[in-house]
Every structure is written in structure tokens, then in C-alpha cells.
Symmetry: C2
Subunit: 145 residues, 2 copies
DNA sequence: TTATATTTAGAGTTTTATATCTAAAAATCT
DNA sequence: AGATTTTTAGATATAAAACTCTAAATATAA
């Protein structure tokens, strides 16, 4: 569904949301080792997220990354948009470029309903909601990779 | 969601289902030009589908491809399985390898519900059902690419 | 039996995604 | 000011996906 870059970005944002505090930035290295992501590759992705103003970065000792806004104001779709773009939410299930409501491919109706579910999920889920799930024990994120 | 190869495969199977008759095989070239798919690339994909026994091929004049079984017995998931494999239907939405029911990622519950919808769609939709839609005018497949 | 139409197969190319390496820039701390 | 830590950036490398080219194999038909 999403590219590896996008997965890495989502994981990183999620990690930052649940580990940074007023005083503490999260360093590239910390995320990369905890989530088992190639460091320099992740670096590019975080730079993207900074450019898209989802993250703030600070250099030097005690530097690192933090969210640019509070986690209840950041939805997952913004992260996807910054990395993979939003094409996925409009693409035909069997790859027809011209497929749309007026000129539907054979699975258009069913598939677009599903796409809407995905889009809705990513539009409504905030980083806040996700970290809450973890604190409640509803989801565990102790694994790596 | 799926690779370009998989899209091509689905389109080709669908084209064959709706154009072949008792007497008529569908040639590689016919599909490639109608659906605007690189011919030799499509050739590899159809070979895969032959190996997976979804298609039968015949060489020589009047040769070409036809379905190995009647279209009501071929579901879309078999085509996906032959080309991309079934991983997509089990992968975590944010790329965690270890994500599962017992050790869920933060979006596991929502995302796996969606995956089930997709899987269900591809498991239940047959080539027959799709061609019917076209004959009923519910879906138009006059576009290329 | 020869010419023709078609699939099959293998090698090669191009493009894109993923990953690595090295060094510069900026901020902090001593 | 100098040493250190961290992000930023650019160049390079590797791998996978997408695509192309050429020729062999096989079947049909004249």
C-alpha cells in the first residue's frame, strides 16, 4: 500500500509523538536504532517532514526532532501526503488511469468504497489517538522492525 | 496497492474473459495494443499466468490465450496471488513486521478490518461477475491505459 | 515442406526506490 | 575559541521493478 519510506516516516512520527517531552528532542539516531531503520535513509525522510512542517529540527547537542504541532492536530494522512503523496487514495484498483465515477472499471464501486475507508482512517486518526492506544495497552510497540 | 505487473495481469485476464470465444484465442498483441501495455513485458506476465494454470496458451497462427477454466470459477485473488503474491493482504499498515493480533501496531484494528474488505472483494469477485457488469453497462472499459 | 503467426525464453537496458558514505553547517558546552 | 553533537546535503552504490530487444520453439496453413 505505502512505500517503505512512508512506513518509516509513520513509524518515526509515531515514535517522536510518544517519546518527546517539553525538554527533550528525539535524535535521528535514537529513532533509527529503536525502529531499525537505516539512519541516513531515515534522515532524508525526516528532512522531508521538516520541509512539510510536520516536524521541527534543532541542531547541536540536545538537538533532534519534535512535532511542530500538538499530536492531536496531526493526522496520519498528512504524513502520507508528505512522503508518498495522495495518489494512492485515488488510484484505480486494477490500474486504469481513466477510471472514475463516470467511466468506472469493473471493480470501481467496490474498490472506491474501500479506498474511502482507508482515506477516512488516515484522515481521522491523529498521532494523539495512537499514543493513547499505546498507553491504554491496546497496542504494543515494543517490537523493532 | 498492487504492482504495475499485477494491474496488467488483471486487465489482461479481464480482457481475455470478455473477448475470447470457443473458436477464438486472444493474442498477446491484441491485448497489449488494446490495453496499452508494453508487449514483451505483458508477455512475461501472461507466461506467469499460464504457469499458474489460469491461462492456456497456444502457439502458431490462430494461437493465443484463453482462460483455463470458465470465468465464474476464477477469482481476482488468484490472479493477484500468481503475480504479486498474497503478502499485501497480511502486511501491517505502517510496516511493522511483527504486527499481529497479539502484538498490534497502533492502527492494527482499523487497518486489518480494511484489509479484510479488500481480501473479501478479491476472493469473491469472479471474472464472470466483472464481465457481466460490463454487459449491463454498469462499467465501461472502453478506455486505454 | 515451406512460409507465417504466434508463444516462449533469455539477455540487456532504463528507471525508480532503497541504502550508504562523506563532509559541511549549525548549535551547544567547556 | 575549540571540541563535540547533531542535522543537512550531496554524491555514490545497490537492488528491484519496469521495459526492450533478439531469437528460438512450435503450431498452422498454404
Amino acid at each position: 500500500m505505502f512505500s517503505a519510506s512512508c512506513h518509516y516516516g509513520l513509524q518515526a512520527m509515531f515514535y517522536i509523538a510518544s517519546h518527546s517531552t517539553e525538554e527533550k528532542n528525539i535524535s535521528l539516531n535514537e529513532i533509527a536504532s529503536d525502529k531499525n531503520i537505516p539512519q541516513h535513509f531515515l534522515s532524508k525522510i525526516l528532512q522531508l517532514l521538516v520541509k512539510h512542517k510536520l516536524l521541527i529540527s534543532m541542531k547541536g547537542p540536545n538537538g533532534g526532532f519534535r512535532l511542530s504541532r500538538s499530536p492531536e492536530n496531526i493526522t496520519l494522512i498528512e504524513i502520507v501526503k508528505a512522503i508518498d503523496g495522495l495518489d494512492i487514495f485515488n488510484q484505480c484498483g486494477i490500474g486504469f488511469r481513466e477510471c472514475n465515477e463516470d467511466d468506472p472499471c469493473p471493480i470501481h464501486t467496490d474498490y472506491s468504497r474501500i479506498r474511502e475507508h482507508v482515506q477516512n482512517l488516515f484522515e481521522t486518526k491523529t498521532l494523539e489517538a495512537l499514543t493513547e492506544d499505546v498507553l491504554n495497552g491496546d497496542s504494543l510497540v515494543k517490537f523493532t522492525k
